[in-house]
Symmetry: C2
Subunit: 393 residues, 2 copies
């Protein structure tokens, strides 16, 4: 048992999720148990808070308050999209030195894992003793190695409950409905909509993800076919769909694209892709009632729609992160492993295995270019948990 | 006690709500109690189903199944936006005669109330004995006479829970956020977002409704002011906002506008207004991170987000509708009255008082052109009911 006596720092990076604070609180509560961790600091707005010495001392906050934070969406410490370079890290270590911080936990997606990798590599170069753990979260479910990502199950649940209602609404007043779901490179969240489908006639009838090339001609043909069969058609589509050449469909349309510090194009927070797709259907099919919603930020921040399994696992990855670093001189990313029907375990893998890499949906999760497979449904169900029961006449 | 022995017909019109089926099931269960109502028919797709003789016999469906339907969003019978004229009504009466239907319940908004008025007037002209009751529902909360409308509380709850999360998400990654809410002529649903605001610094910071003229210049100025004060700004805006001349802001932008049978312009089901507003902020303020979501159909159909009070009242208006017609030869619209803090009662008013009329938010519900008053909050709170608790560090 290593007895590195020092302070811990925890921060949150990237887009928040509905359970990101479960990981935060899980880590804090666990860290409180170990005497070698003296103070637990939180950095406001991710790594930016380290640079700015913008810390909150979390050590003595009472558990009741922490538990309330755990069940609250949004990043309670604030987040950032900053990715530190060499100079940024050097400054971070100066601040960390000042505060005697030697345990560093960063909750985030693949960009935040990459931040951990950079910080870790720079720490070694700078001879700064630091145990760095990446605690995973992302609604996109696109981290490598791990079976699935904390945050995904709850966002998926929101998407399913939305499509369950949309399916019934659209059955009441038939037409074409297109729902645009978050997901730059991976279609996991869009694909989750399939759980709303309880019969062949239920939507979503078509599911388009970034993994499969999107062809406008086939899209029009397939919507038309379902509309002719059922008098309606419901489509779930990822914001990040691309054509045969890998060009994002939305880039073809958007006059200006905004990129963040990681070079990611802005696909979220506007309705342009949805409106274009709706227009395409209207003009090519003559169908009059075509509606489109871009689910936007609701799917990652809606208050009061959480998968219990997701919440538990998000808590657990936070706890495990602390257990790993008090157990020895390690750095890494916490991943979830699954055995059998739904037996979960956790392990630590090298940061380079996860950092800045994107997992896509494997081929076996597709039944066709526009529908997911039974295997994907089996994969998804335990992550989403209980769903409201639907009654029909 | 009138003993008109005949069959009853029930149908649903207009946009569905999360509790519209509570009213349907409330009416069915109540109608089953009275021997003078022999069969209870449901018309598929509103008045269209009468014309098409597209009926379902609801009399013998077991209560367990009905209860499950009650808690399901969407119009279980299907809906329509058809508004019958003289000829349409004449055909309806032929069908009703064939099925010995003399009790007619129509669940819907002000357009459906107008359908009831027309049907009722034509029935008198045609000497067709019919007791016609309009059972209110609308997420817009814009029916006259009634204190509030079944369907509003649940949609309001969705909007509040969305903005609670959005506020936390936006606090994590600060910027400008614009949420576009349904509401053609009345701002009740948009205004409901105010319950997400627990402190001065919380969003929504600005609320724009159709009742107050929208001025682009002031809009930019006010967003900028909040952004300078808090480093972020959250805006709730009705799809139906108009300028000083009463011209819808969206009409100025949309090249083509689609109108339904009632002459309503399509404001829902596309992201155009939101995208324009976001573009305006970006180009006039230089603020980089501006996000917009158009809440769309989720706010009226999301599965699993219901106000308990709303569900109960929606059930009750259905029951009362039946009680009125078995009690005497009456026609009318069921309205809710409120006394004191929250004492509710129901009464029947003349169809002409409600039909095709729109209630707007009264002046006392506004604190300014872009914020609602304490009086509105007091009005709203009991309708929405319990909200998730939020924790902050």
């Amino acid at each position: 048992m290593s007895k590195l006596i020092a302070n811990a720092l925890i921060a949150q990076g990237g887009g928040p999720t509905m359970v990101i604070n479960q990981s935060l609180i899980g880590a804090i509560l666990e860290a409180k148990k170990f005497p070698q961790i003296e103070r637990i600091y939180g950095a406001h707005f991710g790594v930016k808070g380290v640079l700015n010495e913008d810390f909150i001392d979390l050590t003595d906050i009472d558990n009741k308050k922490l538990e309330l934070v755990a069940q609250t969406p949004g990043a309670a410490l604030g987040s950032t999209r900053d990715r530190p370079d060499e100079e940024y890290c050097r400054k971070m270590f100066e601040v960390m030195k000042k505060y005697n911080i030697k345990y560093f936990f960063y909750i985030g997606g693949n960009d935040s894992a990459d931040t951990c990798r950079i910080v870790n590599e720079e720490a070694i170069k700078n001879n700064y003793e630091l145990r760095t753990i990446h605690i995973p979260k992302t609604i996109d479910n696109d981290l490598l190695v791990t079976d699935h990502c904390p945050g995904y199950g709850s966002a998926a649940k929101f998407v399913v409950q939305a499509f369950m209602g949309i399916n019934l609404d659209n059955a009441s007043l038939p037409g074409v409905y297109i729902g645009v779901i978050m997901g730059r490179h991976a279609g996991f969240l869009t694909a989750a909509s399939v759980l709303a489908k309880q019969s062949e006639a239920d939507g979503p009838h078509l599911i388009y993800t970034p993994e499969k090339p999107f062809n406008v001609h086939y899209f029009v043909r397939d919507v038309k076919a379902f509309y002719e069969k059922y008098g309606r058609c419901i489509v779930a589509v990822s914001e990040g769909i691309v054509d045969e050449d890998g060009t994002p469909i939305v880039s073809k349309l958007a006059k200006q694209v905004e990129a963040d510090a990681h070079g990611n194009v802005q696909l979220s927070g506007c309705g342009i892709l949805g409106d274009l797709l709706a227009e395409t259907i209207k003009s090519h099919t003559g169908i009059n009632r075509v509606r489109v919603d871009t689910f936007g930020y609701l799917q990652r921040s809606f208050t009061g729609c959480v998968s219990e399994v997701d919440a538990e696992e998000a808590r657990e990855v936070g706890k495990r992160a602390v257990q790993y670093v008090v157990g020895g001189d390690v750095d890494g990313s916490v991943v979830i492993t699954r055995k059998g029907k739904y037996n979960i375990d956790y392990k630590l893998v090298d940061l380079t295995e996860v950092a800045a890499k994107t997992k896509k949906m494997p081929e076996e999760f597709f039944a066709s270019d526009n529908m997911v497979s039974k295997k994907f449904i089996d994969y998804l169900k335990p992550l989403v948990g209980e769903l409201p029961e639907i009654g029909r006449l």
